[in-house]
């Protein structure tokens, strides 16, 4: 789909290597593992925790022009839904082509109903979604 997923923690790339080599849970990891040992990238994205020196569970989608298109941050104790991340990524790809449309929360893939904001739609979103 033309995206690169980079996982980032405040570990070094040496630690990533060691963990990936030895931890069975990480054996299937195929994504590039990024190292942010100074926390500067985590700070830039607002996910650095000064008290722990760790990065919160932040997910950010950046388009090919370098523009931030999506942002989600979970606390330590809340896992992320990868299906929802993929839904948002696919919606971003779609909306990059269809700039005058909007993807409602139920949108899953190309072909699903979208919204086209207009004066006529004001007060009639329900009809636009369900007609």
């Amino acid at each position: 789909m033309g995206a690169d997923i980079v996982t980032v923690s405040t570990d070094t790339h040496y630690v990533h290597l060691a963990w990936q080599r030895h931890e069975k849970e990480l054996a299937d990891v195929r994504y590039t593992m990024g190292a942010d040992p100074t926390g500067s990238l985590s700070r830039l994205f607002g996910v650095y925790d000064d008290f722990s020196g760790l990065a919160l569970r932040g997910t950010f989608i950046i388009n090919p022009a370098g523009v931030l298109m999506n942002s989600e941050v979970n606390f330590y104790n809340m896992g992320r839904n990868i299906n929802e991340l993929m839904r948002k990524f696919k919606a971003n790809l779609y909306l990059a082509k269809k700039v005058d449309e909007g993807c409602p929360s139920t949108w899953q893939e190309e072909g699903d109903k979208t919204l086209r904001p207009s004066p006529e739609m004001v007060g009639r979103v329900h009809e636009a979604l369900h007609e």
Partner: protein, 57 residues
Amino acid sequence: MSESGTGQLMLGHEVPDFEMDTYDPVAKNFSKFSLAEQKQAGRWTILFFYPADFTFV
């Protein structure tokens, strides 16, 4: 990463270019990630921050 920006990022605004060291588990090799290179290559980027290597998703 190289320090090329400060302040809060906003949706719809450009992310300042950055670089970081990476480990590629497929090639089993160290490399670098660069946002500037992603832009040159016309690639989307998904950054997936996590607290530590034992707390993945």
